[in-house]
C-alpha cells in the first residue's frame, strides 16, 4: 500500500509539471494551429538562461530566475511567433511541423555548443527534505511543485474565462474571422498565447530542472510527454491538458511498478492511439470547438 501511495504521489508531482508544458502546447495549437515539436526544447532552454545568469554573470538566484523568465518570453514567445510561425503558417501545418522540429535541433545544439554537453546541477528553489506520508516519502519540493502547477493552471483558467482579454483570446482561437468583426485584435491575442506558452514553459523548466538536471537533450523526453498529455487529456480544454499531464505522470509510474518496466513508455502511446481513434476530443474535451 505504501508503495502504491509512493508511486501515486511521485507521479502526481512529476505529472503536474508535464501538465504545465501540455497546457502551453494546447494553447498554441488552438490559437495558431501550430503543433510545436520544439516544445520540449522550450522547457530545456530557460534552465540554461538561469545557469548563465548565476554562473557566468554571477547574479543571485532570484534575479537570474526573473531575467530568465523575461528572456524566455521574448525569445521563445515573441520571436518564435514573429520569425518562425508567422511566415511559415500560410504554407501549411506540415511545413510548420518541420520548422519547429528544426528549431528544436537549433536550440538543442546551441545549448550544447555554448554551454556544454554534460548535464549541470540546477539550484533547488524549495527544501528537498523528505516528508513521510503513511509510509510514502515525498519532498517539500514535490508538494510545492504540485501546488504551484495546479495554482497556475487554475489562475490561467480564471483569466481565460473571467477577464475581457481572456475571453477575446478564446474568441480569437475559436473563430478568428468572427472575432475580428467583433472588434477583437486577433493578432495581438494570438501573440498573448505565445507569450503565455513561453512563460509556462519557463516555469516548468524552473520546477523540473532541480530534479531532472539541466541537459541539452532534456527536450526529447519532455516534448513527447507534453504532447501525449495534451492529446490524451483533450486538446481544446485547459483542464484536459492538466488531467492528461497528471494521468501520464501517474500511469507511467504505476506501469513501471506493477506491469512492465521495458514497455513503460508504450502505455501512454497506446493510450494516445486509442483516445484519438475512439474519442478524438480527448478525455476531458468537449466535442465542440475547432476540429483539426
Amino acid at each position: 500500500m505504501s508503495q502504491f501511495l509512493q508511486v501515486l504521489l511521485s507521479g502526481l508531482a512529476t505529472g503536474s509539471i508535464y501538465a504545465l508544458v501540455a497546457v502551453g502546447f494546447t494553447l498554441v495549437w488552438q490559437a495558431a494551429q501550430t503543433v510545436n515539436f520544439a516544445q520540449g526544447e522550450f522547457v530545456m532552454v530557460p534552465a540554461f538562461f538561469v545557469l548563465v545568469g548565476t554562473h557566468v554573470v554571477g547574479l543571485p538566484l532570484w534575479l537570474a530566475l526573473a531575467l530568465a523568465l523575461v528572456v524566455s518570453v521574448v525569445l521563445i514567445g515573441a520571436l518564435f511567433k514573429k520569425l518562425v510561425v508567422e511566415p511559415i503558417l500560410p504554407s501549411g501545418g506540415i511545413s510548420l511541423i518541420i520548422a519547429t522540429m528544426a528549431l528544436g535541433i537549433l536550440l538543442k545544439e546551441s545549448a550544447k555548443e555554448f554551454y556544454g554537453a554534460e548535464a549541470q546541477p540546477f539550484p533547488a528553489m524549495f527544501p528537498t527534505d523528505p516528508i513521510n506520508i503513511f509510509g510514502a516519502v515525498v519532498s517539500m519540493q514535490d508538494i510545492l511543485n504540485l501546488i504551484i502547477s495546479l495554482g497556475v493552471v487554475v489562475l490561467l483558467t480564471l483569466f481565460l474565462n473571467r477577464t475581457r482579454t481572456g475571453r477575446s483570446m478564446q474568441a480569437a482561437a475559436q473563430n478568428p474571422a468572427v472575432a475580428e468583426i467583433l472588434g477583437v485584435n486577433v493578432k495581438r491575442m494570438v501573440m498573448y498565447t505565445f507569450l503565455i506558452n513561453a512563460a509556462l514553459a519557463a516555469l516548468a523548466s524552473f520546477l523540473i530542472t532541480p530534479v531532472y538536471l539541466a541537459k541539452f537533450s532534456n527536450g526529447e523526453t519532455l516534448g513527447l510527454i507534453a504532447f501525449i498529455a495534451a492529446i490524451v487529456g483533450g486538446f481544446n480544454q485547459i483542464r484536459g491538458a492538466l488531467v492528461g499531464g497528471l494521468l501520464i505522470g501517474v500511469l507511467d509510474n504505476i506501469t513501471a511498478t506493477y506491469i512492465t518496466a521495458e514497455y513503460r513508455a508504450a502505455l501512454p502511446l497506446v493510450l494516445l492511439i486509442i483516445v484519438i481513434l475512439v474519442r478524438p476530443q480527448g478525455i476531458m474535451g468537449t466535442s465542440e470547438g475547432r476540429t483539426v
Binding site: 500560410p90 501545418g93 506540415i94 518541420i98 537549433l106 555548443e113 484519438i276
Partner: protein, 326 residues
C-alpha cells in the same frame, strides 16, 4: 516545355548518377548510396503525403520493418532477392493496417497516431531480444551476390542500389500516371468531390499508405546490406521526421522532389562540416529559412521561376489577343 526536354533531362540525370562515384573514395560512394536509399523512402512518403495528402510520421518504422525482415532472413541463409519480396509484403500489410486510422482522422491527428506507431515499433525492436537482438541489434548480414556480380565492394553496391532505385522510380512513375495516381491527386485536392465522382476514397487512402510503406520497406531492405548492422535507434521518430523533411524540402507532390530533397538533406551537412560544432545549428537555421522562402520546396521554387518566365509569354499572348479584339 518541349516534349524532348524532360526525357533528355532524365537521361542526363541517370548518366550523372552512373558517373558520380567514378574516381571517388569509398566515403563519397557511401554517401551517394545512402542518398539513393533515402530517395526511395522519401518517394514512398511523397506518394502518401504529396499525392494522397495523408501525413505519416512513421516512414522510418517501415524502413525498420523492411530492414529487420531482410536481416533475419539473410542471416538465416536466404538470398537477398528472395528475402526482399517477403519484407515488402510484410510492409504492405502493416501499412494497410496503419492506414485504417487514416480513414477516421486527418491532419495533425494522423501525424500523432503514426508518430506513436513509430515509437511503439522502436520499443518492440528493442525489447524483443529473442528475435531482434534487442539493444545490440543484428550484425554481419551478407551483401547480395549474383554470381558474376558481387556487391561486397562499395562501388558495386552503389550500382546495385542505383538499379533498384531506377526500377522503383519507374514503378512509381507508372503508379502516379495511372488512373489510380490521378485518383490519388483528386483525393488530396478535394476528398468529397473525389468521392462524388465515384472514387473509392477508403480503398485509395489505404493503398496510398500501403504502397508508401512498401517503399519505406524497400529502403530498409537496402540499408541492411549497406551498413551490415541494424539497431533500433537507427529507426526512431527523428529519422521519420528527417524523411519528411526530405519530401518537403524537395517539394511534396513533385515526382523528382524526393531525390532533390534527400540530396539536400544528406549532402548539405557534408558541406557544413568545416564549421565543426556549429554545423547542426547552421543546418537547422537554413532549414527554417528555406521553409520561409520556398514553402513549396526547391522543385516548387523551380516551377515558380518557370511560371514567371512563362507568365511573361502568356501576358504577351493576351496583348496580342487584345489587339485582335479591337
Amino acid at each position: 516545355m518541349r516534349r524532348w526536354i524532360r526525357p533528355a533531362l532524365i537521361g542526363l540525370a541517370i548518366i550523372l548518377a552512373i558517373l558520380a562515384p567514378v574516381g571517388q573514395g569509398n566515403y563519397i560512394t557511401y554517401v551517394l548510396t545512402s542518398w539513393l536509399i533515402f530517395s526511395i523512402a522519401a518517394m514512398g512518403l511523397n506518394l502518401t503525403l504529396g499525392y494522397a495528402g495523408q501525413i505519416s510520421l512513421a516512414q522510418a518504422s517501415f524502413m525498420a520493418i523492411g530492414g529487420y525482415t531482410t536481416a533475419l532472413l539473410t542471416l538465416a541463409g536466404w538470398h537477398w532477392m528472395l528475402a526482399l519480396p517477403v519484407a515488402l509484403s510484410f510492409c504492405f500489410v502493416v501499412g494497410l493496417m496503419l492506414g485504417y486510422p487514416a480513414l477516421r482522422v486527418k491532419g495533425h491527428f494522423l501525424a500523432f497516431v503514426t508518430l506513436a506507431f513509430n515509437t511503439l515499433v522502436f520499443l518492440i525492436l528493442r525489447n524483443e531480444e529473442w528475435l531482434t537482438g534487442g539493444n545490440y541489434g543484428l550484425v554481419g548480414m551478407p551483401r547480395p551476390d549474383f554470381g558474376l556480380f558481387s556487391t561486397m565492394k562499395q562501388h558495386h553496391f552503389y550500382y546495385f542500389t542505383l538499379t533498384i532505385t531506377i526500377v522503383a522510380a519507374v514503378i512509381m512513375w507508372w503508379i502516379v500516371r495511372s488512373p489510380w495516381g490521378r485518383a490519388f491527386k483528386a483525393l488530396r485536392e478535394n476528398p468529397i468531390r473525389a468521392e462524388s465522382l465515384g472514387v473509392d476514397t477508403r480503398r485509395l487512402t489505404l493503398l496510398a499508405f500501403a504502397i508508401g510503406s512498401t517503399y519505406g520497406g524497400l529502403a530498409g531492405a537496402l540499408v541492411t546490406p549497406l551498413v551490415q548492422f541494424i539497431e533500433p535507434a537507427s529507426f526512431g521518430v527523428a529519422h521519420s521526421l528527417r524523411i519528411l523533411l526530405m519530401v518537403v524540402v524537395g517539394g511534396a507532390g513533385f515526382f523528382f522532389g524526393p531525390f532533390l530533397g534527400a540530396g539536400v538533406v544528406i549532402i548539405l551537412p557534408e558541406f557544413l562540416r568545416f564549421t565543426e560544432g556549429y554545423y547542426l545549428i547552421i543546418y537547422a537555421a537554413l532549414v527554417i529559412v528555406m521553409l520561409v522562402f520556398t514553402p513549396k520546396g526547391l522543385i516548387g521554387l523551380g516551377a515558380l521561376l518557370r511560371d514567371r518566365f512563362w507568365g511573361k509569354r502568356v501576358a504577351r499572348g493576351d496583348l496580342k489577343q487584345g489587339a485582335q479584339l479591337k
